[in-house]
């Protein structure tokens, strides 16, 4: 196998052998080989089976544009759809071919090829409907799904990939000849430059072909080495290799993914890919061109590949896929392949050119004559034949006569297209070039400059002045470059998209999209059926919708369609190139923002105490709040909550309320501002007092609630719900700045400065008097809904007398740094009075017994204060507040709106279930009219049965009547509609 190696390729370490397995068989490659180049080294051509017809497929290209060579890497994570032409091999790598059963060589699926006349474009739209519609779900779809898809699903693998943000002035995409020259022109200017190259070698065309042998009198490899040194010593240019730019977003924002494990086995403990997120002022696209193929009968046989790729395997990867290839081309780009072969004294079996003898470059003509290579001009390859590999081709020359050439390899070239994918992503416009028969970038939409073949400038003599002209805006170093090329500089191409079939039959196929098995016949059928708009054609035939996005064939399809419709190509338009340029791994996109870092766990100042005391936590937004405190491993939530509730009613309990929002509002117009934000009026409120307040949206619906403490007319502190904290502050700031800028008022969130302890229960006063011995907690000195500042061991605390449980209680605001000390002190003194910590579930139960609402649970954005029976909270004589006008709109004053009521089961042992609905009829025949739904329901330890709050149509007037509640098993239970309060109706305990 040795003679297939081209030893003078500098990029392959011929002294470092690497073993790998392909479909279970062990082969050897060298360090620097891709899977594809290593397979060629072992003479392997068959690499996979096509998507629909399961036809044998070989390696078609030498890069990211590969349609066929997708393989599965079998390892701990078994990655599917890996491009063999890009992925470098590593020791012990196991590779498997895809989409074939039982084996690559013998694939049952190829039966599809026999029935292929039935599987024409869009056949699945026209069948699979009979004999009964259930057949689709039971029979047809499962079969289709099993046959579809290429690789097998991956196993779980904690791929560590990191993100890295960049802020630069100029990004150069592509480190080939033009990319390097652009970098040289920007050397040591005051622009921060990032040069990004997808390969692990800089040089591009200089490495991939022998077209250019000298630059400024030096061999190109030497010039490259020297240029790289200058760039690396510069202080303003950074190079990123193995990094592929996948997305060019609006306002010059690029996404690129770097493979950190080129040629090595990825492990779970190191970063194996980095997603670069680059903000730049300017982008220079010098990412070169992509060769396109030609359509002829059986142009998909293993052993057929693109000419430039064949040359790239020789120069870049030091492997010669075949000793006597035939070359078939319609353009001058293939000349350098002949040059490369002859330098290794390999003689092509034949050179077939669709152009006439005169049109062929004189220099190529002499080369072919000198080495007496059989030449066919005005000729086209009509068909290729062979069993699972190319054996012979049929050539037709200008006279119409055909001849047969036996060969194992055919290098095809249908011309070259500038790689405009990124340019169109940047929203730049394209223009069709009638001479070079391809789309080229024209007006950019952002600061985008295209250079070299990426801008459709294929002439090496133009390189110098294109760079100096286009980069003038950066006033760069002037470029002087002399390029000695072995082939003609001018790019010539003759129009050729498709060769008519040699033996056309129902089974003859000439492919336009190799990966999705789309033939030129499918395109003609699509147009005859009326799908003549290019986007319709693409969707109906699935042309260029595979993982290669039609990089080597979508322009050909436009050519064929323009001929069929006899319109000019730019009248046919072009399909929109959708990001990403090449498939981008989910792990790279997620970066470190997944798994354990998906979202922060916000902790209260005494979080560790909760953990030590066995709290079970609940997620409330990003906060972790104690849900309940089981007294043993086995205690269920229900039992714990019943125990905690009973204890608060009989002794005392304390809840960590630090997560609730706390906002400080101060300024000359603070009172006026608070009156505008909340429904209540705070004008007559005495300083030092507190009031429960509601905040509405402009639509009049309840948005948040909280307690407002008035320090003075110019200084308030407001609490909000945990979930609403950020929105309330944001809403206050919005209205203060945009609606009422004349009001002198400032607001700051102090949520995190203070811990909040809500202590309540009949024995609270005794406990508090022990904890804060010098404060007078008597009713006279400390009435309900008032607050006082006190100094406790040199820290300022605030105590407010308020309660959400219905028991007599206080809210203690303590600076976070002394929270633990005071919390433990409360427990230390409270023990003797039976004080226990309780969680959010108990708080929900106790507040429901008092009929207090929870915003977001008893309200869902469609409930007004009047619906909740909270008319008393609306400042009657206030001229304006948020949402006031909505309260008098026709639908909001409707009497039969949903109103808050209490619900009791008629027979006590029935279970009221949260989320169920209230009905007027006992038996359910759907659709049954619903009065409303149960917003909260709990089992009350004091009442001994379940109860609930509900919002039902015309609820207030239904209090005292009976109805039914649905249950989760579609039955109903009889219920009594009562006032929404079940405990201490006259609030005596609150003010005791």
């Amino acid at each position: 196998m040795i003679e297939l190696n081209n030893q003078n390729s500098p990029f392959i370490h011929f002294h470092q052998k690497i073993s790998f397995k392909f479909d279970g068989i062990k082969y050897f490659g060298y360090k620097g080989d891709t899977i594809a180049s290593a397979l060629f080294r072992n003479g392997i051509k068959l690499i996979g089976r096509s998507f629909k017809y399961h036809r044998p497929r070989g390696i078609y290209t030498c890069g990211i544009e590969e349609p066929n060579a997708l393989v599965q890497i079998i390892s701990e994570y078994s990655e599917p759809n890996v491009r063999a032409t890009v992925k470098k091999i590593y020791e012990g790598m196991e590779v498997e071919s895809q989409n074939r059963w039982p084996s690559l060589d013998f694939d049952i699926g190829s039966i599809n090829n026999v029935f292929s006349p039935l599987f024409s474009a869009g056949f699945y739209y026209k069948t699979f409907m009979g004999p009964h519609k259930s057949f689709w779900k039971k029979i047809y779809e499962p079969v289709i799904r099993k046959a579809a898809g290429l690789g097998k699903p991956p196993k779980e693998f904690k791929a560590i990939s990191s993100h890295l943000h960049h802020n630069v002035d100029i990004v150069i995409v592509g480190g080939g000849l033009n990319g390097l020259l652009a970098a040289v022109s920007l050397l040591n200017t005051n622009y921060d430059v990032l040069l990004i190259e997808s390969d692990n070698q800089l040089g591009g065309i200089l490495n991939n072909s022998s077209k250019i042998n000298e630059i400024n009198g030096k061999p190109s490899q030497e010039w490259i080495k020297e240029t790289i040194e200058n760039i690396e010593n510069s202080k303003n240019i950074k190079i990123l290799k193995n990094t592929l730019v996948t997305t060019y977003n609006y306002i010059n924002h690029l996404i690129a993914v770097e493979d950190k494990y080129v040629g090595a086995k990825p492990t779970e403990d190191k970063v194996n890919s980095t997603l670069h997120k680059i903000r730049t002022e300017h982008v220079i696209l010098s990412n070169g061109h992509i060769e396109r193929f030609l359509s002829f009968q059986n142009n998909d046989l293993p052993g057929i590949m693109l000419g430039a790729s064949f040359e790239k395997y020789i120069c870049r990867y030091g492997v010669i896929p075949s000793k006597e290839p035939v070359i078939f081309s319609n353009n001058s780009n293939s000349n350098s392949l002949v040059q490369t072969l002859l330098e290794l004294n390999i003689k092509p079996k034949a050179y077939i050119d669709s152009r006439s003898g005169e049109q062929i470059e004189g220099q190529l003509f002499d080369l072919i004559r000198k080495n007496d290579i059989p030449l066919y001009t005005n000729a086209q390859v009509k068909a290729a034949y062979g069993n699972k590999k190319l054996e012979k081709i049929i050539v037709e020359d200008s006279s119409g006569g055909t001849s047969e050439i036996a060969t194992d390899f055919l290098c095809v070239s249908g011309g070259i297209n500038p790689d405009v994918h990124l340019f169109t992503q940047s929203k730049g416009l394209l223009d069709w070039d009638e001479k070079d028969l391809t789309y080229k970038p024209s007006t950019p939409f952002q600061n985008t400059i295209t250079l070299g073949s990426a801008s459709g400038q294929f002439n090496l003599e133009e390189v110098e002045n294109e760079i100096n002209k286009k980069l003038k805006i950066f006033s760069p170093n002037k470029i002087k470059i002399k390029i000695k090329s072995s082939t003609a500089n001018e790019y010539q191409i003759q129009k050729l998209w498709e060769v008519a079939a040699h033996k056309s039959s129902m089974w003859s196929k000439s492919f336009i999209d190799l990966q999705n098995d789309v033939t030129t016949k499918d395109i003609r059928q699509a147009i005859s059926e009326g799908f003549d708009r290019i986007e319709h054609l693409k969707r109906f035939t699935t042309n260029s919708m595979g993982t290669d996005q039609g990089k080597i064939s979508s322009i050909n399809a436009l050519g064929i369609v323009s001929d069929l419709l006899d319109k000019k190509v730019n009248e046919v338009g072009t399909t929109i190139y959708r990001p990403p340029y090449a498939p981008l791994s989910f792990a790279a996109i997620a970066g470190r923002n997944s798994y354990e870092f998906y979202d922060p766990e916000r902790k209260s100042p005494i979080h560790q105490w909760h953990i030590k005391n066995g709290a079970v936590f609940e997620d409330v937004g990003q906060w972790k709040r104690p849900w309940y405190f089981p007294n043993s491993k086995s205690e269920s939530m229900h039992d714990a909550v019943q125990r905690e509730s009973k204890n608060v009613r009989e002794n005392a309990g304390v809840l960590d309320g630090s997560t609730l929002g706390k906002i400080e509002i101060k300024g000359k117009d603070a009172l006026n501002f608070m009156n505008l934000i909340y429904t209540n009026s705070f004008t007559k409120m005495k300083p030092g007092s507190a009031r429960y307040a509601l905040m509405l949206g402009e639509d009049g619906m309840v948005k948040d609630d909280g307690i407002i403490c008035k320090i003075s007319d110019e200084h308030f502190i407001a609490t909000t719900t945990t979930g609403g904290a950020a929105n309330v502050l944001a809403c206050m700031e919005e209205y203060a700045q945009t609606e009422w800028p004349n009001l002198k008022v400032y607001m700051n969130s102090i949520t995190e400065q203070f811990a909040t302890f809500n202590i309540s229960g009949p024995k609270t006063r005794e406990i508090m008097s022990k904890v804060f011995s010098e404060i007078d907690f008597s009713n006279e000195a400390f009435p309900f809904m008032t607050f006082q500042f006190h100094e406790f061991e040199k820290t300022q605390i605030r105590i407010m007398r308020a309660s959400f449980t219905g028991e007599m209680g206080y809210e203690i605001y303590v600076p976070a740094s002394s929270a633990l000390k005071i919390w433990e002190r409360i427990h230390e003194y409270g023990k003797e009075f039976g004080l226990i910590p309780y969680g959010t579930e108990t708080m929900h139960l106790l507040r429901a017994e008092k009929g207090y609402i929870i915003v977001g649970q008893d309200t869902d954005g469609s409930i007004t204060p009047i619906d909740l029976g909270l008319n008393w909270m609306i400042g009657k004589n206030k001229i304006d507040f948020l949402g006031k006008r909505s309260l008098t709109r026709s639908d909001t004053v409707r009497s039969d709106r949903k109103q808050l009521v209490g619900i009791m089961p008629t027979n006590k042992e029935d279970q009221i279930q949260e989320g169920q609905h209230i009905l007027l009829q006992e038996t359910i025949e759907t659709p049954v009219p619903m009065l409303g739904h149960i917003t909260s329901s709990y089992h009350s330890p004091t009442m001994g049965h379940t109860f609930g709050l509900a919002v039902i149509k015309d609820g207030h007037s239904l209090i005292g009547t009976k109805a039914f509640a649905s249950t989760s098993d579609q039955k109903t239970i009889p219920i009594d509609i009562v006032k929404p309060i079940f405990y201490d109706e006259k609030n005596e305990r609150l003010v005791s």
Partner: protein, 116 residues
């Protein structure tokens, strides 16, 4: 991701900002005397042009200040940023600045600026 030039902090990535919808929508004050329909229009209806749009942004993860901007919603291009108390720039000022977005065919691009 857009780049937005906050009038107080300078150019920043769009992830630091929150969008506030249409600008220059005056909230009816002491609003008892207007009809349900007019109030409904204030609460629910904002203009939605394909083209030049007066828009509000707030630097919610920065200085937390609100400001206005003129943006072309057919291309996302930000044409001008101005403070709340700066005067509203007239539409005429931006007429010739609109670039056609790529990919949309001339015919059928629906890309015309809606005159108020």
């Amino acid at each position: 991701m857009l780049v937005i030039d906050c009038p107080y902090c300078g150019p920043r990535d769009q992830s630091e900002f929150s969008n506030g919808g249409e600008a220059h929508v005056k909230r009816p004050d002491g609003s008892q005397d207007i009809s349900d329909r007019e109030w409904g229009e204030y609460v629910f209806i904002r203009s939605n042009p394909k083209g030049l749009f007066y828009e509000r942004w707030v630097h919610s993860h920065g200085c937390r200040k609100w400001f206005n901007c003129v943006r072309d919603t057919s291309t996302d291009e930000i044409l001008e940023i101005y403070k709340l108390d700066d005067p509203q720039p007239p539409l005429k000022k931006f007429e010739n600045k609109i670039k056609t977005p790529s990919g949309e065919p001339d015919v059928g691009s629906g890309n015309f600026t809606v005159k108020k």
